[in-house]
């Protein structure tokens, strides 16, 4: 009796984790479409710069840390480390978080769309 409860519990936990992973994947899939907003300037491939720097490895990266990309003084002085949270604030209104940065992008207003985009970035920039 006791044993079957344990088994049921284990299965339930596995199901929850699988469901969470599934949700992340769905969010990331939606976020891939949102990334169209960024794709005219950014690539997620390492070393591939466009108008903006490559976003490869962006999570955990310090702002303005890519050697061969010409950042603005504002970005270089910003003292930010890119996490899901700082990215969320930045993408919502780039000029608010880093005034006078040179990214020509007004911001993504919808929080749900930002969450999707960040879910995508977490997967695609690894």
């Amino acid at each position: 009796m006791g044993r079957s409860i344990v088994i049921t519990l284990v299965c339930a936990i596995a199901l929850v984790t699988a469901a969470a992973a599934g949700q992340d994947n769905e969010a990331a899939a939606r976020g891939e479409k949102r990334f169209e907003e960024c794709a005219s300037c950014h690539s997620v491939a390492a070393g591939e710069h466009g108008v903006g720097p490559s976003l490869h490895g962006i999570i955990g990266r310090r702002a303005a840390s890519i050697e061969d990309f010409r950042y603005s003084p504002a970005m270089r002085k910003s003292d930010i480390t890119w996490t899901p949270e700082t990215l969320n604030t930045f993408i919502a209104d780039p000029q608010m978080l880093v005034p006078a940065n040179r990214m020509a992008y007004a911001g993504l207003i919808d929080p749900a769309e930002r969450a999707d985009l960040i879910a995508y970035l977490q997967q695609a920039t690894k």
């Binding site: 907003e37 794709a39 005219s40 300037c41 710069h49 040179r102 020509a104 992008y105 007004a106």
Partner: protein, 588 residues
Amino acid sequence: MATRLKEVDVVIIGLGWTGGILAKELTDAGMKVVAIERGETRSTEKDYSVPNVRDELRYVQRHDLMMNTARDTLTVRNNRSEEALPMRRLGSFLPGEVVGGSGVHWSGHTWRWTDMEFKVRSLYEERYGKTFIPADMTIQDWGISYDELEPYYDKFERTAAISGKAGNIRGEILAGGNPFESPRSREYPLPPLTPILASQMFTDAARNAGYHPFPRPSANASRAYTNPDGSKFGACQYCGYCQRFGCEANAKGSPHMTVIPIAMRSPDFELRTHSWVTRVNKDSTGKKVTGVTYTNVLNGEEFEQPAAVVLMCAYAINNVHLMLLSGIGKPYDPVSQTGVVGKNYCYQTGAAATLFFEGRHFNPFMNAGGSNASIDDFNINWAFDRAPHGFVGGYVVGGGFNTVLPIGYRPVPAGTPQWGKAWKAATAKWYQTAMQISASGSVMANRNNYLDLDPTYKNAFGLPLMRMTFDYKENEHKMGRHAADFINQTAKSMNPTTMNPATARTDPWTVVPYQSTHNTGGTIMGTNPRTSALNKYLQSWDCHNLFVVGANAFPHNSAYNPTGPVGALAYWTADAIKRYVKKPGPLV
């Protein structure tokens, strides 16, 4: 002695909108293509990004992306009794000199010209009789129809990311679009740009007066977008630096970020920059061309590039110049009205009023190139009866902003001193409160407006400059007065605090100030080799392996900006060339 290079399938002279489209289409079709471009390569990443691009001195005053008049220019006069003088500084029009051509620094207003242009003579004669068209007005039908071009318009609109609202899909008239447009097969690829206060106020005024305003279609992406070739666009940021600038957000449809990089990926494509084509060479029969001769402008070295097919894509007036320099086709003579090369050169006219509203804030620094609401009630609306007004053609009217320069834009009411304390106070007071309503009008071909080689002046290569003989005629004066009256009436209905009224352009045309880079004609398309230089596939009647692509092919100029049909015809010509290479010879 020119170094002779290995023959290729296709050589393209000039890599702007038309050259870019043809380079991509023909390399896709498996041809070996070389493009020869006098300018250098520039990119959004290095050159057009923030902050470099926001430089009014560099791009507006010093014409950084435009042709260098110290090397080549035109001589200009109003009529044959005058001596033409060289235009030493750019003014009225600003052709590009860079990879991407004028397509880098254009504004993006993109229209579909209709059968009202393509069948101009037949339509006017049928409705108003033969005598309605003045004897010296050399308009003629184009030999092409809207229906033939429709799929190619559609293709160009998708490539260049046009934002707009359809007014007619397959015959169904749709609210909010241009009800006078010809039927399109589907909606624009992107929704219209966000309206601005000036365009909204014009929309309201026009609608209240019973007209049909719609958002002007333009190649400023209203949203992020990926075109059918996979080129990626950012969303327009309304930064206010559009016309004369490259786009910092990759939001303006331009060849340097669409068709050209795609052609560059093909191993069958080669681009040679800093290379100036001086001549297209003919074989001994004179019935075929053999390639081009060009000079490397960095070191003066001369080359001959043989090719099975030659495409002139050097911008309308430059194409005509190359035809004259190469001796292809009979030069036009206005006295005997014989010959075709140089014939039917046309430009555009217009009128504009500035309206001042005390207390309103137009934020003129925030706009896209195409932030404009327009009406076509006096343009492609055939129900508008021209008989009482006595002119052929029409004009499109719009309210909005396009590239309001931080230094150059200084609207003040007429009568304000032009310098000093009073001027300073006025410019501070009125800057935020002004908006414009302006009209762009067609110019009909006239036997006395034409292009030929100048007898006196030469360019840096020792070749004769091209001479432009042009002025507005009575037809344009009448239309200009009609447009000015309409604008002033609409402006008054909006109750501005004060206004600088519109007047018709009736003074002789001059090369200053900037008017528009919408030069047309000179090697026109048509159905008869005696009255046109090109057939409907833009193929030379004289040399069947030469195609001359651009607004040089337009038999007259409409009120609209030209690049809609320029782009569509480039795609149309690409298809014709794919047929041509299978069976070389005249296509009609």
